[in-house]
Symmetry: C2
Subunit: 348 residues, 2 copies
């Protein structure tokens, strides 16, 4: 199985992601530079600089890449600037979602740096998130995509936005809620990752290229299981990943008492003594590394980690099977196959 | 001079605002009900209810009214649902701006009730603001307005959004900054009220009706002085208004050390002893009602209140003169004349 796409050298890749990512970064930089250069008051520059830096520095560009290959399921995108711009606009929406989610989750680190609210304070972070959301909308509409196509794509974009926001709302309910609420944890995964991160970016791209209902359905058949597997991998890395590699703390999710599928599964498999211990450790804001290590042991001992790894593998297989049956152009199939592995086997 | 439009009985009004406001409320309620009825998960209802309640309860609908009459500068709007919907979408943007601004300003009261972040916590308030912003965009695009007109209006809407956000950013810089920075205080007024609240809603309406550059310029000539006068009146009411009437505390702005034109003017007119006293009182989080009363006396004694009342009157006259010279339909002129008085003489 191929290694993580994000860690591949250009030579090792079947699909040339580097060129697409460079194209996406280039249109993002152009848009942000234009924004910086047209600020109506020089006193705004300092703060806006922080937003531009946040967007440009780091990030895998997963949603724009999926949007780009969503277009390529229907027709060749090549270096078409309008497609790159529409796809890159999703990165600005994602910057908004990350900045605000980090405030709500009280996260201290993001992409290996202090989160914006830690660095600048909550007020500036709220405002920069708002600006990123408004810019996302502007960049999409100014992408140069055919206006008729843009009208068609709005319902998909609106669904994407709603799923991200409703997913976050359910996530807030899950944090501090009943720790074994597997249904709620699963619903959060469905909205925040399966739909918002994977399905909708593909739909946006396919709709922009004029893809019909059959193409959109095939995107969904691939996206939902792959998206779930991606989030399950993320949950595992949130506890077992190395902070130097993930850029995030491996204790924070546990301190916060975040009810992930991994945690809910452990609680449903645990015996009375293990449940008592888990309930004592999870959501304790003082939890240290040795406490986190005990949680990790419990996740292994209850069989929860193995169970979740099985879930990831089954979902990846389901998504890949749907991909082989989809009426997509072969370039898109090749790219989406690699992305399926990269997102579910990745270490960061 | 006519009394406040918001307090007029239907009989006393030349212009029938009640019908327009009812029309605006009706399309807002329809939109929100549709949103509530189509939530993908019943666990979302409770929080979304709070947002709907916030939007529907209270608020003068000033921006939608101005948008409606912006349309009427060009042609009769009547009860055209598409115009009402496009206009009402500005109220959802404004709900977003109020909810997030209240968090940033740590405001406790809004429209006579606890602010959303006081009632629900900061996390839910951030999220509800985000949802209001996304809904604003949806309601505008689903208004039923001709798609070609909608494309033309986007640049105006984008300018409005940017001005609201940049205005808030400058406002944050002003709070806790140099208290006599009259230039910064004036710039905040220009963005947050003159442009965001008055000029852009008129522009949105006029552009939706196909108004050309001359109409837009005339809207600006009316809007900027009236908008400034409106904000100056708001600053005066923020210190001298009665909380039962304004729905806001008359001490909060002072405790916060908000640098309004009124405050900056007082500091520029004050003698050394008065400056020392003002600097001691302003921005003191412990300031009580008797301390607030001393500030009010200083605002009167320095001549700042009289100076600002003169500024308000001059700007109103300037706006009204521009209105009489504008190439607007007479119904729009009558309505905008009344709004000019209502917003600059109002007591709440």
């Amino acid at each position: 199985m191929p290694p993580s796409v994000w860690r591949m050298t250009p030579e090792a890749m079947t699909v040339n992601y580097t060129a697409v990512r460079q194209g996406l970064d280039s249109v993002l930089v152009d848009f942000l530079r234009e924004k910086l250069n047209s600020l109506p008051d020089s006193r705004l520059e300092n703060l806006i600089d922080h937003l531009c830096e946040f967007v440009i520095h780091g990030g895998k560009r997963l949603r724009p890449l999926l949007c780009y290959y969503g277009w390529e399921t229907v027709e060749e995108a090549g270096e078409r600037t309008s497609v790159l711009r529409a796809a890159a606009s999703l990165e600005l929406f994602h910057a908004f979602a990350l900045i605000h989610d980090d405030i709500m989750d009280a996260s201290a680190m993001r992409r290996g740096r202090p989160t914006l609210h830690k660095a600048l304070g909550v007020n500036d972070a709220i405002l920069l998130g708002d600006i990123a959301l408004v810019w996302h909308d502007e960049m999409l509409h100014a992408s140069g995509v055919d206006p008729q196509r843009l009208i068609a794509v709005r319902s998909v974009v609106e669904a994407m936005r709603a799923e991200a926001l409703y997913g976050q709302q359910l996530d807030l309910l899950a944090t501090g809620g009943a720790k074994d609420d597997l249904d709620l944890a699963t619903t959060v995964v469905r909205y925040k990752t399966a739909k918002y991160t994977v399905e909708r970016p593909l739909h946006v791209g396919a709709a922009l290229a004029g893809g019909g209902p059959e193409v959109l359905r095939s995107c969904t058949a691939y996206a939902l299981p792959i998206g779930e597997a991606f989030q399950l991998r993320d949950d595992v890395l949130g506890v077992f990943g190395h902070p130097d590699v993930t850029g995030k703390s491996a204790v924070e999710d546990l301190r916060e008492g975040k009810v992930t599928v991994l945690i809910a599964t452990a609680l449903s498999l645990a015996d009375t003594k293990q449940i008592e211990l888990l309930n004592r450790l999870l959501g304790n804001p003082e939890l240290d590394e040795s406490g986190a290590e005990r949680v990790r042991e419990l996740l292994v001992d209850t069989g929860a980690l193995k169970h979740v790894e099985d879930m990831i593998r089954r979902r990846r297989e389901e998504g890949l099977a749907a991909l082989e049956a989809a009426p997509f152009r072969p370039e898109a199939v090749a790219a989406l196959r690699e992305i399926a592995y990269a997102t579910t086997e990745r270490v960061s």
